[in-house]
């Protein structure tokens, strides 16, 4: 993402207040994520908040260093542009930082294995996964271009494939064990309780991301819906994969 051109351009094409909304949404999300994947015996709001801000700080610092190294940040740029470029990279980088710690950290300290799986927690993880993957793709020109090339029938097929792929992941979680789904659970129960809400979350997050990045400006309702369906495909995979991986 540090090497994606659109992410640099967004720093000066995007409304400052939309960037502010993005960061405002990201902070409670990071706190929640650090709460869900945090270390079991010190799960309280203060520690989770500290973890989240620590991750955000590391992310901003890393983004600044890498962007400078790549020549994306150079002398002569305005402070607004530099701050925008770092801020926009920091959000996915911070999510990545928290996820990396949960995956690569000391297994004994990891609360995830014995994490109590609550329904709300599962939906939250799906939202984080959708945001993380959607963030990578929402700024790109391709998302919009694909939606222009597709007909409504293509879009309907894409919705069906997104939901089918998500449902495959839901079953993979079931096989991994420790999931809410017991053997007797009928397939439609999991579809209704996990897959469809997961897809709805992915679609809403896609809409939010497209709006934040100014991709919906001036678009008619039909084209917004098409763009959301296109972005919801990777977001839905991200949402479903998050439950499997975390």
């Amino acid at each position: 993402m540090l090497m994606t051109m659109e992410m640099w351009q967004l720093a000066y094409t995007m409304d400052a207040w939309r960037l502010a909304v993005l960061v405002a949404v990201a902070v409670p999300l990071l706190v929640g994520l650090s709460h869900v994947i945090g270390i079991e015996d010190r799960r309280n709001l203060a520690d989770s908040s500290m973890d989240a801000f620590f991750a955000l700080g590391i992310a901003a610092f890393t983004s600044a260093v890498v962007l400078t190294m790549l020549g994306v940040l150079a002398p002569g740029m305005s402070a607004d542009e530099i701050a925008g470029k770092i801020a926009i990279q920091s959000v996915p980088a911070a999510i990545g930082a928290l996820l990396a710690r949960s995956q690569l950290g000391d297994a004994d300290d990891d609360a995830l294995d014995e994490r109590e799986e609550t329904y709300g927690g599962e939906l939250f993880l799906m939202a984080v996964g959708a945001l993380f993957l959607g963030f990578n793709l929402a700024p790109t020109e391709e998302m919009i271009l694909i939606s222009y090339q597709m007909s409504e029938w293509h879009a309907i097929a894409l919705i069906a494939i997104s939901i089918a792929a998500m449902h495959g992941f839901v079953f993979a979680v079931e096989f991994k064990g420790g999931s809410e789904l017991s053997e007797e659970t009928p397939w439609w129960s999991a579809l209704l309780r996990f897959t469809l809400p997961g897809y709805a979350i992915a679609a809403l997050i896609s809409l939010f991301l497209l709006w934040v990045f100014g991709r919906t400006d001036g678009l008619g309702l039909e084209m917004i819906v098409m763009a959301v369906v296109v972005l919801a495909f990777p977001s839905a995979i991200g949402a479903a994969a998050a439950r499997l991986i975390l």
Binding site: V36, T118, S151, W153, I159, E180, L192, A200, G218, M223
Partner: protein, 129 residues
């Protein structure tokens, strides 16, 4: 977020809220598919339809800016739309829009050396995306 510890999640019967959220999501997805079906069936199979308008004319430091908006009221998206403006005195200026999606609007400006009067705007070409 509900973080109440549940000792045996596998055997836990689904909470009623799970069914409500599930049903709401199912309705949302069905509405989405229904909307797409309706627009697909009512869609006219014609070329893009362009509507151009001059929003305002401003004096800038490097000439006159004629702010224009281009709306595509058709059901097909047009790419690389070339719009040409000619004022009464014969001065011309051109603008290319990357994309003008179906049912959507794009804005830009044509620059003129003198204040443009009697501006005529015509769409000259476009490509299919």
């Amino acid at each position: 977020m509900n973080d109440e510890p549940e000792s045996h999640p596998v055997n836990r019967p689904p909470h009623p809220a799970e069914w409500i959220i599930g049903a709401a999501s199912a309705l949302g997805v069905l509405a989405l598919i229904g909307y797409l079906c309706v627009t697909a069936l009512t869609e006219a199979d014609g070329p893009p339809v362009f509507e151009v308008a001059v929003d305002e004319v401003l004096a800038g430091s490097n000439g006159w800016h004629a702010r224009i908006s281009l709306r595509n009221t058709g059901d097909k998206t047009a790419a690389d739309v070339v719009l040409r403006g000619e004022d009464g005195a014969g001065e011309t200026s051109e603008i290319t829009f990357d994309y003008v999606p179906a049912g959507s609007m794009r804005q830009g400006a044509l620059l003129f050396a003198r204040e443009p009067a009697g501006l005529e705007l015509t769409v000259r070409s476009y490509t299919d995306p």
